[in-house]
Symmetry: C2
Subunit: 445 residues, 2 copies
């Protein structure tokens, strides 16, 4: 059942049979969405659900919404529901708290294995494999039989994936191999796990950056990967649903950074959050704008004599900025997707320069023609066209080199490239055009 009206009707009816139908027939993600879209976001309606299902609903929510749902419950209910949630979701939630509150929450609200597991997960940076993994996986020993493994499966109802069972060493939990449920089902009951396990198991280190974890999933296509510590001890699994979130998050981060917005900003945030996210970036841009305008000011004598320069110069700087943005967009995305290396960097640079030159010739010719409308003098058209070509080639160079240099300096190229590139294209655009005009002044008057 995924009709939000139906779900809301059943949920708000107060009839136990209806609630049971919801639990049996709907996905928790749909119940959450129904309340948010159909019931005006009033999370009180969720209180009618049994604790287990309510925990599943909260698992599906964003961090902010998780808090809002937990807020409508009394302390006893909160404790009960919280301990039924996925441990990785609880850890993410606690990660958001201030350091002083973290321990208090763990101490007062969590119990038993949930408490132990959440404490373990909190040791890892939230942007690493350890930060996105869960401890709810199925581990078996190599010496066990298939029968024993299948029986064990029945007891591990909370595991986030039951398709893979990970084979570990009894003593120190070293990851030895992996068995798929399919392999298990195909084998006779008395087969030992070591006979059917795949020892070429692909795992990720707990400290691996989440972007690199996503790359591993993208490369191998598995629905889950085991996470090991530096000693090869298995400590968790990352599941593909969390990886999808990571991929979306990393793409959003790149897009925000290229647009000059802080990665933490939310579309439905407050005015103050928005100002805090954007103002610093605007101030950085203001400095570069001043730089460009000071280039203009250097040539005010020239502009005073030929005022048409001031209309045409913005075309030359602006078009250079557009071309530079095109180059940097390609290069920044390619760096994000690991598509540039030593082998192809030189040929990409040459391609950018040559493409910049060709685009420059076409746009330069058009700009030259346009310039004649402002000042009917062939020399005026010629210097406009020349300045345009020169700026386009420099735009290509800057659009390629600046992201690469920033990456080498371990500065996110998505964040800083565009301000540097447009500074180059603005300043050089004005300089080439006004400089050429100053040199050829007698011909232009």
């Amino acid at each position: 059942m995924a009709d939000f009206k139906d779900i809301t009707r059943l949920l708000t009816s107060g009839v136990p049979d209806n609630i049971q139908r919801l639990v049996d027939e709907t996905h928790p993600a749909d119940v959450l969405e129904a309340v948010q879209e159909e019931a005006g976001g009033d999370y009180k309606y969720l209180l009618a659900l049994p604790d287990d299902f309510l925990a599943d609903v909260i698992d599906e929510a964003d961090d902010d919404d998780k808090y809002d749902i937990l807020k409508v419950m009394d302390p006893d209910r909160t404790r009960s529901v919280l301990n039924r949630m996925s441990v990785d979701e609880i850890a993410d939630l606690i990660q958001e708290l201030e350091d002083d509150n973290k321990e208090a929450v763990i101490k007062s609200l969590l119990r038993g294995r949930t408490k132990t597991d959440v404490t373990k997960l909190l040791k890892y940076d939230e942007d690493t494999a350890g930060g996105i993994m869960t401890t709810q996986f199925i581990a078996i020993y190599a010496s066990n039989t298939v029968m024993k493994a299948l029986n064990y499966l029945k007891t591990e109802v909370d595991a986030e994936t039951s398709y893979y069972m990970y084979v570990v060493n009894k003593e120190d939990y070293t990851l030895l191999g992996v068995v798929s449920l399919r392999d298990l089902v195909m084998a006779p009951f008395d087969t030992r796990i070591e006979e059917i396990m795949n020892t070429n198991v692909i795992s990720v280190n707990a400290n691996l950056d989440q972007e690199d974890v996503a790359d591993e999933f993208s490369k191998y296509g598995y629905p889950a990967l085991p996470v090991v510590d530096d000693n090869g001890k298995m400590i968790g699994i990352v599941t593909v649903d969390d990886v999808i979130d990571v991929i979306n998050e990393e793409a959003t981060e790149d897009i925000y950074h290229m647009g000059g917005v802080n990665k933490e900003e939310k579309i439905d945030g407050t005015v103050l959050e928005s100002v805090k996210s954007r103002l610093p970036w605007l101030i950085v841009n203001l400095f570069t704008a001043i730089l460009a305008s000071s280039v203009i000011a250097k040539f005010d004598g020239t502009i005073e004599k030929i005022v048409a320069l001031s209309a045409v110069m913005t075309i030359i700087s602006g078009m250079g900025g557009n071309a530079g943005t095109q180059s940097l967009t390609m290069v920044v995305r390619a760096l994000s997707l690991d598509e540039i290396d030593k082998n192809n960097a030189k040929s990409i640079l040459l391609k950018e320069i040559f493409a910049g030159f060709l685009n420059g010739v076409v746009i330069g010719a058009l700009v030259a023609a346009i310039a004649l409308f402002y000042n009917f003098n062939p020399w005026f058209g010629l210097i406009a066209g020349l300045a345009m070509i020169m700026n386009m080639v420099c735009a290509a160079l800057a659009g390629f080199l600046i992201p690469i240099i920033l990456e080498m300096m371990h500065i996110d190229p998505a964040l800083a490239s565009s301000v540097f590139v447009t500074t180059v294209t603005d300043c050089l655009g004005f300089f080439f055009f006004l400089g050429l005009a100053t040199l050829t002044m007698p011909l232009l008057m």
Copy 2:
């Protein structure tokens, strides 16, 4: 084994035992990467692999690389390997061919079930669920016993996921439910599938856009989803590894469009492809640049009298462009992720305007101060600051409204927003500042 040097050594050794070790111990994706990174991309080395494994290696490659690998084989080998590949990968490959060649390739190279399945897949648009699905799934009947289903599993070795078995109607293949392998293993052998199947199965229509398919995966977190036609007949499954590719592809598309690059352009493409991708966009931008410069030309009498205007005006238009880009970046990404709806649109607009005003006040005050360096007259500073604030508020309005209007008109907001927004901020920036200067001319001289 994932050490590229080791893999390359085994692959190029020519010793059958070494090749067998590779097949047993490496993931096809690693063999592919080893050849690309370690063996200089010479795909001839792959010919030493047995056909089944070679087919798996090709499955892992990008479309372009798939062709390059197939090219090194003789026709007989090509036919043999091709028919062992995943049908969805073959279909993607054929999709790239010109229409005339498609049928010839299918007829001469494909056989049996592969031929039938690929032909079916080719009927769907490549950007839809049908275009990214595979026909290699496991379907069982509701009346079967668990025993029969488990036996059937042994015969379906090519299925892309064996964790879910889909329950269909015998007569017309209507999707009735889903059984996980775990449920199957837990149930007694003589249980009928209908007793344990989950009838609330979430499916996607074959014509659903791949972006919406990705949203379903992101929401529900399953490793695979069944695909049905308009009559509810099950025709395939989409697996999460293909969805990861879709998510990366859609993010790249948004980023490229926002940067003014065609979505088909590749970082390692040719100069001509690059020019073809970017020149049309530059020409569109040229028209908007002309528009902005014609606003300046209207005021050339004013600029002639106060030449400092020409240095300061580029700051006001440029900063407006930056602020407008910030707003549109947030809005375009939110539209992509379905985060804006009727409920929150008004409050987001108000937030944008108010944030634009606040940023405008701060940046406006700074611009007013800077303006005094160019022309020491308080009125000059005042009109620069005022024009800056007005342009920032308009930037916020344009950055919000333009993507929304484009989305309503079914034009990709990522593609066209930035050119419209910067047109607005350039033209209005010049108009506000030069207009105010013209009105207050006696005070400025």
